[in-house]
Symmetry: C2
DNA sequence: TTTATAATGATAATCAATATCAATAAGGAG
DNA sequence: CTCCTTATTGATATTGATTATCATTATAAA
């Protein structure tokens, strides 16, 4: 299961980096892997406080950054000034449709687009490390 | 010429919206349309101060927002926390290759990608209003 | 001109993210 | 297990870009 896989990956990352395993990190890990996607730091912090009062905002920020470093999370910026995180699925990738009406996020994969991106980069003698593709607009419900 | 076109478009926007034509707006317009692309607010402010000491930072911010509203500028966020602006070419569109080594920005257009984006959106019953496609990586020089 | 209203610019406020730092916890050595 | 070094935590202060405030100034219509 993806959740357990990510938890295991993070524990290995902590060990490999000489970091320490702490109660807070485990708690944040638990909540994060079982969360709906694209949560802001604030949202995750509130969810965590409900289960683990006393947790610090700074610790949540720091730990989410570690999640991103370890590869189990992706940091996302939708342009509203809030950093969001989503659990990563190893070996998978997707981009986002963002409804500016209700804020709903849909996900999609399109291998042809990905290939064309690589072709474009090749033409510029450019080596892609990562990319961001976001489609902003209105979902069906918000258009009615 | 594109520069004069954009200046004219902005002046019409100002008139249409019942705004006032001011020395500051004209100065900012002059500098903006003749600028290299993807300048941060801070960079534009410094460039403006050189030619027009006394200009206020807040005025630069406000005016750049007006440029974006009027359609002669695009607001860009490359994820470094600084808002950038680039002159818009009416009826044209491009996306960006961002070198994480030296910060150089290359531009590209790919109509096939654009069509595929629309197809993806259609499949989700989603109406695209705008999109963001950025390819991050290393340019040829930074790879050597 | 006169006058109503918008714009300006100095400054304060905002807000998410990050840095600081004393107190606490982890975990290896003995 | 206990000691000890070092990392982590969380309260708080700070940062940095942007936005709001507001007294002063400028615009443009009457
Ligand atoms: Mn996603
Ligand atoms: Mn551009
Ligand atoms: Zn919607
Ligand atoms: Zn480069």
């Amino acid at each position: 299961m993806k959740r357990e896989k990510n938890k295991e990956l993070f524990r290995k990352f902590v060990s490999r980096q000489g970091l320490k395993s702490t109660r807070q990190r485990e708690n944040i890990l638990d909540v994060f892997v079982s969360t709906k996607q694209h949560m802001s730091v604030e949202e995750l912090y509130e969810k965590l406080r409900a289960a683990h009062p006393g947790i610090g905002y700074a610790t949540v920020c720091r730990t989410l950054k570690l999640f991103a470093q370890s590869g189990i999370a992706h940091e996302i910026h939708f342009g509203d000034g809030r950093t969001r995180y989503e659990p990563a699925a190893q070996g998978e990738h997707h981009d986002h449709l963002v409804c500016t009406g209700c804020g709903t996020i849909a996900e999609f994969e399109n291998s042809t687009i990905e290939e064309l991106q690589t072709a474009v980069a090749d033409g510029h003698d450019f080596l892609i490390h990562s990319h961001k593709l976001e489609l902003y607009g209105l979902c069906a419900r918000c258009r009615k």
